[in-house]
Symmetry: C2
C-alpha cells in the first residue's frame, strides 16, 4: 500500500510536531525560501515554474492558468460560463459581497493517479452544498450539473498544475457572490460563480490546539452550517491569539453553554475512545463537512461505532485520540489540546486510528485503492 509522504511513522510525526507549534498548520515551509517560487510582492501571489520541484509546495495562492466565470441571468439561472485566463476580476464598489458579505465558498480537491487520470472526489456533494448555502443567503446558484461541469472544465484546463499524488493535489475553490450593486440591505441584482485552483501539498502532522472561551464561530439561527464567507473573518482574532501563544489552531465551543465542541477553525473535529468515534452532531451551527461525512462512512465500514451527538469539551481529556478533518487536510491528528491552561497530549498510541482513517480516505482520493464507495470521478 502506498503511503502519503511524511505521514506514517511516529518518528516523522514527532519531528514535525515540535517545530510546528508556532506556525499555522497550513502554512509551513514558506515555499519562496526554496528559490523556485518567484515572489511578486506587488500582488501577494507566488508565480510557479510548474512541472518540477513539487517538494516545495505549501498552501499559498498561486497564479495558475485559468479561472472559470459564470454570471446569473435575471431569472436566477446561470449561463454562458467559461474559462478565462487567471487574473483579477472587476467588481462594483457597491457589490453586495463587498458591502454585506453575500458570498459563499466551496472546497474540493483533484489528484492525479499513476495512469495520469485526474480524480475528483464527491464533486456533486459540493455542488449540492453550494445550492443549500445559496438558498440560505438569498442567492441563486448553478445547478449541480453546471457545478460539476465547471469544476471539470477548470481542473482539466489547469491540468499541468496538478502535483504527483505523493506530493500534493490541486485545491479547487468555487465562489458564489453577489457582485451586482446594492445600497440598502437587499440581495444583489446579479451574481457571479467563479472557480480558481492552486496546487498545494499533502499534509499529515499533529497540530496543537487551544480551546477558545471568548470567541464563537457560529450561533443557532446563524449561518455556521453553510460556507458563508462571513463565518471566517470573525475567528481570525482567535487564531491570531492562539498562534501568538504557540498553538497551531483553535477549537471552538457552542455559543450558548460555552461547553460543547463545535469545530476547529476550518475543520470538523472527532475523538476516539476505545472502539467508538464521536463527533458533534449537526445542529445548525456545524458545517456538514463532506470529509466528515466520508470519515463517518469509512469508520462504520471499518467496524467502529460512530456517535454524532453533543460532545462536552471535558470528554476530550479522556480520549485516546483526537483528530480533525476537512477537504484540504483530509484527516489531521491533534497532538495536544489546551483548555484554560490545562494541556493534554495525545499520540502515545501513535495516532493509529487517525492514520488508519487518513489512509483509507486519502488512498481513495488518490486512486491508490479501488473506490468501492463510488465517490470518485475520473477525468481523461
Amino acid at each position: 500500500m502506498f503511503n502519503v509522504q511524511l505521514s506514517f511513522t511516529n518518528a516523522t510525526i514527532f519531528q514535525f510536531s515540535s517545530s510546528f507549534m508556532v506556525q499555522h498548520h497550513l502554512q509551513l515551509a514558506a515555499a519562496s525560501s526554496h528559490g523556485w517560487l518567484r515572489a511578486t510582492p506587488s500582488d501577494g501571489h507566488s508565480e510557479t515554474s510548474v512541472d518540477k520541484r513539487w517538494d516545495s509546495l505549501a498552501f499559498n495562492p498561486v497564479k495558475t492558468d485559468y479561472i472559470y466565470v459564470m454570471k446569473s441571468c435575471k431569472d436566477g439561472s446561470f449561463s454562458n460560463g467559461g474559462l478565462r485566463h487567471y487574473g483579477n476580476i472587476e467588481i462594483s464598489p457597491s457589490a453586495a459581497v463587498l458591502n454585506y458579505g453575500q458570498g459563499i465558498i466551496e472546497n474540493l480537491k483533484a489528484y492525479k493517479n499513476k495512469n495520469g487520470s485526474i480524480i475528483l472526489f464527491r464533486v456533486e456533494e459540493n455542488g449540492l452544498r453550494m445550492r443549500v448555502g445559496a438558498d440560505r443567503m438569498c442567492m441563486p446558484a448553478p445547478t449541480i450539473e453546471q457545478f460539476v461541469e465547471a469544476v471539470t472544465s477548470t481542473v482539466s484546463a489547469n491540468e499541468r498544475w496538478i502535483p504527483p499524488s505523493n506530493k500534493g493535489f490541486l485545491h479547487v475553490r468555487p465562489l458564489l457572490m453577489g457582485n451586482g450593486p446594492v445600497l440598502s440591505l437587499t440581495p444583489a441584482p446579479e451574481f457571479i460563480f467563479l472557480i480558481y485552483v492552486t496546487p498545494v501539498r499533502n499534509y499529515f502532522e499533529p497540530i496543537n490546539v487551544v480551546v477558545e472561551n471568548d470567541i464563537h464561530r457560529a450561533t443557532l439561527g446563524g449561518v455556521g452550517n453553510i460556507k458563508a464567507i462571513g463565518n471566517y473573518a470573525g475567528i481570525m482574532k482567535a487564531q491570531a491569539k492562539a498562534k501568538a501563544n504557540g498553538f497551531s489552531d483553535v477549537l471552538y465551543l457552542d455559543s450558548i453553554h460555552n461547553r460543547n465542541l463545535e469545530e476547529v477553525s476550518t475543520a470538523n473535529v472527532f475523538f476516539v475512545k476505545d472502539n467508538t468515534i464521536s463527533t458533534p452532531v449537526l445542529g445548525g451551527t456545524i458545517l456538514p463537512g463532506i470529509t466528515r461525512k466520508s470519515i463517518i462512512e469509512i469508520a462504520h465500514s471499518q467496524g467502529f461505532k460512530v456517535e454524532e451527538r453533543l460532545v462536552p469539551v471535558e470528554e476530550l481529556f479522556d480520549a485516546d485520540e483526537v483528530f480533525c478533518c476537512g477537504n484540504a487536510v483530509c484527516v489531521l491528528p491533534v497532538g495536544s489540546i489546551t483548555l484554560n491552561g490545562k494541556r493534554v497530549d495525545y499520540g502515545e498510541s501513535g495516532f493509529v486510528v487517525s492514520q488508519q482513517l487518513h489512509s483509507a480516505l486519502a488512498n481513495i482520493q488518490m486512486g491508490l485503492i479501488e473506490d468501492k464507495m463510488g465517490w470518485t470521478t475520473l477525468l481523461n
Copy 2:
C-alpha cells in the same frame, strides 16, 4: 423651525403607513418610474441627471462622480489615498474579502445647509468605530485623521450630488477590506480603504415590524457589535420572509434566550413608556450606533430618563411608542410589531416622542438649528 418634508402631521404619516406595509422601508417609490433615472440594466446602477427632480430620490446605488481609494502598506499604515472617477475596482479572485468575508463598512451622511455649506455629522466617531472593527477583524485601518480627510475629500468632490436638505442627503459608504490574495484562513497581505457616495431621500414613515424567532443576527463572542460585512447577508432570509408576509422589517432577539431585543435589521431599537426611553444595552451583540448614542444624549437633554438594559420583547406590548434609529433613517417610528401572530399597533399618540427626537437630531444634521452638541463639521 424648519420641518422635514413628509414628516410631521399624523395625517401624512398614516397616509404612508397603509401603502407601505409591503415594501422595504428604504426602497419606496422606484425612482425610474419618474422618468429621469435612466436604468442601466447591464450593471444594475441608475444614472442620474443631477440638479433637478430631487423629488424622485430613492435609496438605490447611483453612479456619482468620484470614489476614494487608499491602500495599506506593509507596516499596516495607509498612504497615497486619492480620488478616482467612479467605476469598478479590480480584485483578486482569492482576495480575503471575497473568500473569508474580511471586510467592514461604515455609514455617514452629508447635508447641505441653506448657505450652501456641506455638513458632516460626527465623522470622527465613524473613523474611530472603523478602527475598533478593524482590530476585531485583524485588519489595519486608516487613522481617524485620514478617515476624516478622505470623507471630506470624497464628499466635496461629489458636491453636486448633495440634494437640498429638505429632499435628502448624500449617503457616504466607507469600506475597508482585505483585497490581497490568501488561500488558507489568514488575514490578507494587503487592504483597501474605499469610499463611495449616493444621494438618497429623507425618510420618516412608520414601519411594520415582525419579530423573528428562528434567525439571529449575532451571538456573544461574534462580531455583532462591529460593522462586519458578514453580519448582513445572513439576515436577508429573515427580511425576505418578512416582506413576503407584508412586513417592512424584522426585529431580532438574542440568540441565547430568544427573548431580549437586539436590533432591527440595520438599526437600533428604542421604546418609550411614560417619561422613560429604553434601549438594549450594548453587550457585545449590538452595534454601538452613532445615531443611537446621539439620540440617548438628546433624550437626556430633553428631560427623558434613558435606560440601557436587557429588554424582554414582551415589554414592547406595553410601550407608548417604539422607534428605531440609524444613520440613513435618523429616527423611524414603528407603526406595529407582530410577535407569534399577535400584532400591536402604535401611533395613537401620533408618534410624538419619535417626531420630537427626529426633529431635534435631523435639524442639527441639516444645519437648521444651532449645534450646541458640537457634533457637526462644516465644509466650505
